[in-house]
Amino acid sequence: MSSGRTEGQARAVSPAEGLRAAFAEGRTALIPYLTAGYPTLEGAYEVGEAYLEAGADVVEIGVPFSDPLADGPTIQNTTNRALENGADLGYCFEFASRFSGRAPVVLLVYYNNIFARGAEEFLSEAAGTGVSGLVIPDLPIDEAVAFREMAGEKGVAICPLVAPTTRDARLEKAAEAASGFVYCVSVAGVTGAREVLPQGAVELLRRVRQKFSVPAALGFGISTPEAAVEAAEAGAQGVIVGSKLMQIVADGGPEAAGAWLRELRAALDRGAGTEG
């Protein structure tokens, strides 16, 4: 599919490479999350547009699942609403295709949504709609071997999650498995806004940066510009913001979310964003 952007021949190569390239400029990549179909099927598009206007480097799109056990109450509320709104897989792919030409898109998707569709077919649809990568919170690397191979053939990147509880030996396995970015979970817990950057996050980033050749993005609980700057200083090459933005969308709509993201971008550019 043709790219709506003119600047880079780098983007034409493969979605997975495009995804890694989004991190390549020595500035901290901004990865806002939104739930497809929230607050309404139409309203979700406005949220995505606001993210792009605010300078999102990668857009993470949540495919709503009935039982999101890695998510806290804020994101659960959005996925429940999205399901009530009728955000099925067909809608999610259509939604992704609307943005994938303008910024790399990753899907946050629970494994049963993939399994029910059939892994092969899911990957074909993802590739066909320009999806660059997948974050699958309930598919640890050991269960993902065959799936990863299939994804590789379709040119869709896998972004494995690692946590403060992940031991070094597993980090190495995850490093081998990663083809997009590595999603560093900042804290033992579910998604949700937190005031400060958790202690374990800094140590995790240090370990990850030693072992991974793909970029490291930090997520779960980043809810202030200060925490994002801290994450960047600790070595995060990207920050993923979800619950905080979904809360802002709930309270103030897409424009408010865009405004908050611009503040975050500015803080990162002022702060440690030029590390490396």
Binding site: F65, S66, D67, L69, A70, G72, Q76, N80, L83, D88, L89, Y110, Y111, N112, N113, I114, F115, A116, R117, P137, D138, L139, P140, D142, E143, P160, L161, V162, A163, P164, T165, T166, R167, R170, V185, A188, G189, V190
Partner: protein, 407 residues
């Protein structure tokens, strides 16, 4: 042929470990602890001693004479798990796991519960071992099973009602897993059934297999050999796996698992994952799941809170696909009828869960015919269910008393 899980925790193609990365280390730790202690003489002695003195094992093996006569078919035997301490088989698993948690140095215990039986069992062993205990229970279930909520509180546990989804067992499991992800360092999750990520299905099965081992020995003594059939209800499937385990693949022993058909399979309002579901991933393992074409998990329905679950332990999925166990289903109405006949004819008020097994047993007894022997797992007692039953019969407690006086 005896099935065993390999190291990755699969039963055939079912099982696995589909959980957030944060929990992987805890599951590995649990697996190591289990491998280390399951054969450890001190562990075994402690478990067997408490099973005897605290739980009251071995549970009796009883001839149900009046039901046998009424049905006019095979001899009906009850394995009386309802007589185990706390009133159900759930204590077998909770006790074994608290021993493990204690050895792993975990100070905090969490559990999910549907009917409340597993919650009560967990609160009980937590009290016995002096551990902090939090039990997640769907809000709807806290209403349906109010006496069990009180029991848990009396035992010192905190009961957290869960309002998400339909407020039943599925939602309680989600919340328990979220708690565990958050507090994994000091917390052990005592899952109540043979579901969840590896190694849980295997650990829970091994701990519940005491039911089957006792049944096997008791049948040998009383019947001079194996029974011709064994019937058990299946929600998550722990009492069924427990009693089936030694008999799986054994010639001449029919194993029958009875799921909840709720308002009828054709209505879509049921809890029969094996009969009416398709393979999928929920709560950490690949098994049969009630779901939409898009892979969204459907809400289950059953009059019995313990069978109100849209998935089933992965070993059952394997046993079904291999044809080693027959899986059937029984509606709410049929289970209620069996609940009443068992109460009136045998003097045992069965759990609504167990009533599903009793209901199917009637037809099977007739099919097998006189002279054959059929064991029904009386997995729990029904005191907790009298409110639900009264409501369904459209009578209040006083009327119920009068009605029973008319008999």
């Amino acid at each position: 042929m005896q099935q065993e899980t390999d190291k990755t925790g699969y039963f055939g193609s079912f099982g696995g470990r589909y959980v957030p990365e944060t929990l992987i280390h805890a599951l590995e730790e649990l697996e190591e602890a289990y491998e280390r202690y399951k054969g450890d003489p001190e562990f075994v002695e402690e478990l067997e001693g408490l099973s005897r003195d605290f739980v009251g094992r071995a549970t009796p093996f009883m001839f149900a004479e009046r039901l046998t006569r009424k049905w006019g078919g095979a001899n009906v035997w009850f394995k009386r798990e309802d007589l185990a301490h706390t009133g159900a088989h759930k204590i077998n698993n909770a006790l074994g796991q608290i021993l493990l948690a204690d050895r792993m140095g975990k100070s905090r215990i969490i559990a999910e519960t549907g009917a409340g039986q597993h919650g009560v069992a967990t609160a009980t062993v937590a009290a016995l071992y002096g551990k902090e205990c939090v039990v997640y229970m769907g809000e709807e279930d806290t209403r349906r099973q109010a006496p069990n909520v009180l029991r848990m509180k009396l035992l010192g546990a905190e009961v957290r009602p869960v309002t998400s989804g339909s407020g039943t067992l599925k939602a309680a499991l989600n919340e328990a897993i979220r708690d565990w992800v958050t507090n994994v360092e000091d917390t052990h999750y005592i899952i109540g059934t043979v579901a969840g990520p590896a190694p849980y299905p295997r650990i829970v099965r091994d701990l519940q297999a005491v039911i089957g081992r006792e049944t096997e020995a008791q049948a040998r003594e009383r019947l001079g050999g194996d029974p011709d059939a064994v019937v058990a209800c299946v929600g998550g499937g722990s009492n069924a796996i427990g009693i089936f385990h030694p008999f799986v693949g054994r010639e001449g022993v029919r194993l029958v698992g009875v799921e909840a058909a709720g308002r009828g399979l054709e209505t879509g309002e049921h809890g029969a994952s094996l009969t009416g579901g398709a393979p999928g991933v929920l709560h950490g393992s690949l098994s049969y799941v009630l779901q939409t074409a898009d892979g969204q998990i459907r809400e289950a329905h059953s009059i019995s809170a313990g069978l109100d679950y849209p998935s089933v332990g992965p070993e059952h999925a394997y046993l079904k696909d291999e044809g080693l166990v027959e899986y059937v289903s029984v509606t709410d109405e049929e289970a209620l009828e069996a609940f009443l006949s068992c109460s009136r004819l045998e003097g045992i008020i069965p759990a609504l869960e167990s009533a599903h097994a009793i209901s199917y047993a009637e037809g099977l007894a007739k099919e097998l015919g006189p002279g054959m022997n059929m064991v029904v797992n009386m997995s729990g007692r029904g005191d907790k269910d009298i409110g639900v039953v009264a409501e369904h019969l459209g009578i209040d407690a006083r009327e119920a008393e009068e009605a029973s006086g008319d008999e």
